[in-house]
Symmetry: C2
Subunit: 92 residues, 2 copies
């Protein structure tokens, strides 16, 4: 039982750390959203399309280049498909 209580306490500590990480993720995702909105506002002046497959490719290359694991590049791709979808739909 002591071991069980100890394991429970450890889980609670890890969950508290996850909650902190999640708030940092939310902050960064919002900052990323602001940058995306700023770029979208500039695009009409440069006559670029809103969808840019070459830029998307570079984003995935950048992710892979700064990934030390335990997540795999495919895991990041799955998460970033959702992130990039949200960024495209975002309204100021």
């Amino acid at each position: 039982m002591t071991n069980e209580k100890d394991a429970q306490a450890q889980i609670e500590e890890h969950r508290a750390r996850i909650d902190e990480i999640d708030c940092q993720l939310v902050k960064l995702l919002n900052e990323r959203g602001e940058q995306s909105l700023a770029i979208r506002g500039l695009k009409p002046q440069v006559h670029w399309g809103l969808y840019d497959p070459a830029r998307e490719q570079k984003i995935f290359e950048n992710l892979a280049s700064c990934n030390d694991g335990p997540l795999y590049s495919d895991n990041l791709r799955e998460i970033y498909e959702a992130i990039l979808h949200v960024m495209k739909e975002l309204r100021a």
Copy 2:
């Protein structure tokens, strides 16, 4: 043309900032993965199931509580469905 060049330069600056944000996101997502793996290793000792809907609900409440926008809670939910799926599938 000067305005167009200026707008292009501004877009490049925003993209460079996005690349920095993305590397910070990758770092945090990996740290979150490590925490998830640690919890998974502890769960057999506390006889908890691997899937915990009450915890998932708390995660979404925490996200909403620290969200200042421009992303909406629904945007974060979309992104977190991918994040939580990846965390469940992650192998040490």
